[in-house]
């Protein structure tokens, strides 16, 4: 068993590390503290979910990791270097809330877009596109255009696009937020399998407690005004997770803790 890497003696490697991270936006209504004193280490192979109400800074934190936002204080490293260097070395794939596929490109050519930008050789691109489309269960849809696919399939294609280049880190900002519950369950299951097979480090922003508990090895509970981390919950669930694990007492126990954490964050606010 290698469920708990700490116990088996496998050296843990910190992939993302934030220390005393602060981000203040200057607005017309005065400064807004999007993030205050955020400390967090994410280890290699972790699946970390960020959960909290709107305005708690979970997306902002993710954007800091991706160098889409610049912190105003504190330190953050990705793969041991600054987020900007990590971005330039294409260390992560980022999946946005909307699939954002280009309507004028086929699914295959959408997936190959980052590869073209990164200058992969043509033969390599074809091989990679085929492989990642297989991985997200979209083999055979290469020649289709985005509008010919359902919302869930489009989001899978956008995940394939983020996987196409060999980034070890996957940053996902509410990727399934706009999808219905049934499609979402299915994609959650697939995402876990994918994580298991590829051993990527995943940071995942969500609004949904069951989704966070089902997917994660760690759940980071955040709360707003100022945006901060109020609780970090280590999941005791096994790595192998069928969908009906969500009815087990263990699952409900963790979900309860997350809910308590969210409520505590709100009480602080009132």
């Amino acid at each position: 068993m290698s469920l708990d890497r700490g116990d088996t003696g496998v050296t843990t490697e910190t992939v993302i590390s934030a220390k005393g991270l602060n981000l203040t936006f200057q607005t017309n209504d005065g400064p807004v503290h999007a993030l205050r004193d955020v400390d967090l280490d994410i280890q290699k192979g972790d699946f970390v979910s960020f959960i909290g109400p709107s305005g708690c800074g979970k997306t902002t934190f993710l954007r800091c990791m991706a160098d889409l936002e610049t912190p105003t204080g504190g330190a953050i490293t990705v793969n041991g270097v600054s987020p900007e260097e990590a971005r330039r070395s294409r260390a992560y794939g980022y999946v946005f809330q909307a699939a954002g596929l280009y309507p004028w490109r086929t699914i295959g050519r959408n997936v190959s877009l980052p590869l073209e930008i990164m200058g992969y050789p043509k033969s390599d691109i074809a091989e990679r596109v085929e492989r990642v489309l297989e991985l997200v269960d979209l083999a055979g849809f290469e020649k289709k255009f985005p509008w010919q696919l359902s919302g869930g399939m489009q989001q899978r294609a956008s995940i394939a696009r983020a996987l196409a280049f060999d980034a070890d880190i996957l940053l996902m900002d509410e990727p399934f937020g706009a999808l219905d519950e049934i499609v979402r369950d299915h994609l959650n299951e697939q995402l876990l399998q994918l994580w298991d097979r590829t051993n990527k480090t995943i940071a995942f922003v969500t609004h949904s407690i069951p989704e966070a508990v089902y997917l994660s090895t760690r759940i980071v509970v955040m709360s707003p005004r100022p945006g901060r981390i109020t609780d970090v919950i280590e999941s005791t669930l096994p790595r192998e997770r069928p969908l009906d694990i969500r009815d087990t007492p263990e699952f409900l126990e963790i979900a309860h803790r997350v809910r308590e954490g969210l409520r505590a964050g709100h009480a602080y606010d009132d």
């Binding site: 991706a66 160098d67 889409l68 971005r87 330039r88 294409r90 992560y92 794939g93 980022y94 946005f96 809330q97 909307a98 954002g100 280009y102 309507p103 004028w104 877009l113 980052p114 073209e116 930008i117 990164m118 255009f145 985005p146 509008w147």
Partner: protein, 288 residues
């Protein structure tokens, strides 16, 4: 398609009725005048027949214009100076060159405005100011100045055309190149894409619907520019020359046939762009 035929025909029929009625009304004075001098009384049917067949009517009847159009297009050799096809080609060539120049200039300025902060702040007011100057005032200047440096013929007219047609392209393309959302631009950033790659792979394809829409407006403006450019050149050839010569000699039928020819030309060119637009956007999966 079939549903729209009846309303369109109704409108066309209404236009013809009004046109014929207006011809009777406007040309009646001349008909009465002539009848009085000849000392005859005009019955209503004689009046109508006369007003619809005068040589230099105030308003020619549609069939007179149609006959003139037929005579000057089908019956004349296109090399003849009296052929409307020849004059149309003179104007069209200036229009097309001006349209091409205007589109290139417009796209170029739009790229500058979108990518360069200084240009963004400084160029747009000038672009707008350029369109507030009446083209009739500036067209002779352009002709005279270019003539002084030895450039005459097609190019001065094309430049006046360009002057009118670059404007809709700039405005449309600035909007089009800025149409990708924050998310799509962030996405490019996560892939560490260069400004060049973002332009060719995201901004330019995104702007295509805007480009075609503004090109339709630009084409119509180009034709106006070419015709206006022909007015101060001493009226040698072109639809503008026909209009000018027609008004010198009171040849209203000739003026109206040149007008209709210009309108038809514009309609055909705009329809052509529309067809290219439909095919291109459909192939790009961006058809509305």
């Amino acid at each position: 398609m079939r549903k729209s035929v009846l309303p369109v025909l109704t409108v066309v029929a209404a236009i013809f009725v009004i046109w014929y009625a207006a011809a009777v009304w406007l040309n009646a004075a001349w008909a009465y005048d002539r009848a009085a001098r000849a000392g005859v009384e005009l019955s209503f049917s004689e009046l109508v027949a006369d007003t619809w067949s005068q040589d230099k009517p105030k308003l020619p009847a549609p069939h007179q214009v149609a006959v003139e159009l037929w005579d000057t297009t089908v019956d004349k050799k296109i090399t003849s100076k009296r052929s409307l096809v020849y004059h149309s080609w003179v104007t069209l060539s200036a229009t097309l060159l001006g349209f091409a120049l205007g589109t290139v200039l417009g796209i170029g300025l739009a790229i500058g405005i979108v990518y360069n902060r200084v240009m963004d702040m400084s160029v747009m007011p000038w672009v707008i100011a350029s369109q507030t100057i009446p083209i009739l005032a500036i067209a002779p200047m352009i002709i005279v100045v270019l003539n002084a440096v030895g450039i005459s013929g097609l190019l001065p007219k094309a430049i006046i055309s360009m002057y009118l047609s670059f404007f809709p392209v700039v405005v449309g393309m600035v909007k089009g190149l800025r149409s990708p959302g924050v998310m799509q631009l962030d996405q490019m950033k996560t892939w560490n894409a260069s400004a060049n790659q973002t332009f060719w792979k995201l901004r330019l394809p995104s702007s295509m619907p805007y480009l075609f829409t503004s090109m339709k407006v630009a084409m119509a403006a180009s034709l106006v520019g070419a015709i206006v450019g022909e007015l101060p050149t001493g009226a040698v050839a072109g639809l503008g020359a026909r209009l000018l010569a027609g008004s010198y000699y009171g040849q209203t039928i000739q003026i109206w046939s040149a007008l209709l020819m210009a309108a038809a030309l514009a309609a055909v060119m705009v329809a052509l762009i529309g067809a290219i637009q439909r095919v291109t956007l459909k192939r790009m999966g961006m058809a509305e």
